[in-house]
């Protein structure tokens, strides 16, 4: 009798298990179909660094103090700049980040007095060659500026959110970016 109740209980629990799975069967899909759709990265996502612009002038805030260069434990940042005539501070002309050695420790962001660099939210970083990961952040900044131009000077107080939007716009089309990466990889090969 004991064995029969055991069999009955076991069979019942199997049926309950099957009811659970059939319930899942009719619920909507929860996975994101990656190349077709992407997740929005949260604001605190720590991607590679990027330059922050001065909303008034539309140029990078960076004045080439090179603190980040010295703070970097893996020596992957090299900054260069010139002193333009009639200006107190130097302006950045080249900001190279060698992302192959960067460990995303964030020491550069922490040490920057001006808040001129921040973490980007770019995570679609596939490439075929090593050289693709030596990032020129000035170029990247200019590209972002060009994209954000139509709305860049509308309001100054909300520039934080505007920049966030601009950053998002830059990473909005991963498929195109992937294709671009593949193309540049081909030409390098």
């Amino acid at each position: 009798m004991n064995a029969l109740t055991e069999v009955y209980g076991g069979f019942k629990s199997l049926l309950i298990g099957m009811r659970v799975t059939i319930g899942q069967f009719f619920k909507p899909v929860v996975t994101v179909q990656y190349p077709h759709k992407t997740l929005k990265m949260p604001l605190r996502y720590r991607g590679h660094i990027e330059l922050v612009g001065n909303p008034a002038s539309g140029r990078p805030l960076c004045f080439v103090c090179k603190l980040c260069e010295r703070a970097c434990p893996s020596d992957c940042i090299s900054v260069d700049g010139v002193k333009l005539e009639g200006e107190k501070r130097r302006s950045v002309t080249s900001y190279k980040l060698n992302f192959t050695t960067c460990s995303l420790c964030g020491a550069c962001v922490e040490v920057c007095r001006e808040g001129a660099i921040r973490f980007s939210r770019d995570y679609n970083l596939a490439g075929l060659t090593k050289e693709e990961f030596v990032l020129d952040l000035v170029q990247r900044f200019q590209a972002q500026q060009a994209k954000a131009k139509p709305e860049a000077h509308e309001s100054h107080e909300s520039h934080e959110s505007k920049q966030a939007e601009a950053a998002q716009a830059a990473e909005a089309k991963p498929a195109g970016q992937l294709a671009g990466a593949a193309k540049s990889g081909d030409s390098a090969a």
């Binding site: 298990g17 799975t21 059939i22 899942q24 899909v29 929860v30």
Partner: protein, 343 residues
């Protein structure tokens, strides 16, 4: 035109042509099912895990089986060193052939069976045991430790489960009084409570009998949770370890063909075969509906339960299924005796 058509039909019903038509139809049916049940399985697995399953090849991934087939066919057939080459090559065929032959006696519709044999049920079970031997030969011939281990498991597992399966089938043969599958279906005419599954006045344990049959069918087709033959997480790929390309492909197709056969048999024996419960739609449709519902439940079970442990598997058979099926056999024999003598 219609005269020509009817002439062709009568020609196709005469002997050598009928044979050819049946062979082509069965091979086509098995091939289509094997290919698209893989798709059903993958889609089903996806749905049960809240993901979409294959979507990239063709609309809703419908061309996925074609892509898989092309991939398998383009692969090199590797023969492992030291393997028994003849047995190694023959094993996949030996798994596939009995299924194709068994389908010849399955009545898909009232007059839609390749052969209306008087001993159809017996023939299916005679051929069914070849499956085990073929898996064992495949495992043995590969000269691979995993494969041999799996082959040993498969044999003990199949021996253990063939007994309750056959006891159930003997019960059904006694209840129906015939081994002709078409006749068994004909006896279940009428509404669904005439199906053997609900024939509780002959044997009050009929639903239990069906469950035993279903469990044994899962086991005989080496499906999860009884997939000791493959057991990919513990034995690499079990008996299929050394098979690549279409050799593996045939084993894989045979698994699905066996599921179709097992579900067809369950439909015929318990769910009234091509009998329609409401009198609408032709019988073939009902047969396929019932059969594919059972196939779906096989997929459903696979993605619900983990693989049983080996001793658990044997305990289930020897300690539960065999005593219970013996009991139902004796019970229905007694009931039949009483019923017959009272008439």
């Amino acid at each position: 035109m219609s005269a020509l058509f009817s002439k062709i039909v009568t020609l196709l019903e005469t002997e050598p042509y009928r044979l050819v038509v049946a062979v082509v139809a069965i091979v086509g049916f098995v091939a289509l099912n094997a290919a698209y049940l893989v798709w059903v399985e993958r889609k089903g697995a996806g749905r049960f895990q809240r993901r979409p399953g294959p979507t990239e090849v063709g609309p809703a991934g419908l061309l996925q089986p074609v892509a898989d087939g092309l991939k398998l066919m383009s692969k090199q057939l590797i023969l492992p060193a030291g393997a028994d080459l003849t047995l190694f090559r023959v094993a996949p065929l030996l798994v596939m052939a009995p299924v194709l032959m068994s389908l010849a006696v399955i009545p898909f519709g009232q007059s839609l069976a390749a052969r209306n044999l008087n001993v159809g049920l017996l023939m299916i079970f005679a051929l069914g045991s070849i499956n085990v031997m073929a898996l064992m030969l495949g495992g043995w011939a590969s000269r691979n430790k995993y494969a041999v281990m799996s082959a040993a498991r498969v044999v003990s597992q199949n021996v253990a489960y063939e007994i309750p399966m056959l006891l159930v089938v003997v019960t059904m043969a006694m209840v129906s009084g015939t081994m002709n599958l078409n006749e068994i279906v004909r006896q279940q005419a009428g509404a669904f409570w005439h199906w053997n599954l609900f024939r509780v006045w002959v044997n009050p344990l009929m639903p239990v009998t069906f469950l035993i049959f279903y469990i044994c069918m899962l086991e005989e087709t080496n499906r999860a949770p009884f997939d000791m033959a493959e057991a990919e997480s513990e034995l690499v790929a079990g008996a299929y370890t050394e098979y690549g390309g279409m050799g593996f492909g045939v084993f894989f197709m045979a698994e699905y063909a066996n599921i179709v056969l097992g579900c067809s048999l369950a439909t015929v024996l318990f769910l009234g075969g091509w009998q329609s419960p409401f009198g609408v739609l032709p019988g073939v449709v009902w047969f396929l509906l019932k059969m594919y519902f059972l196939v779906f439940s096989v997929v459903w079970i696979r993605w619900t339960f983990p693989r049983t442990q080996f001793y658990g598997l044997l305990n289930l058979s020897w300690k539960i299924l065999i005593p219970v099926s013996l009991f139902t056999l004796v019970l229905s024999a007694a009931m039949l005796k009483i019923l017959r003598s009272s008439l």
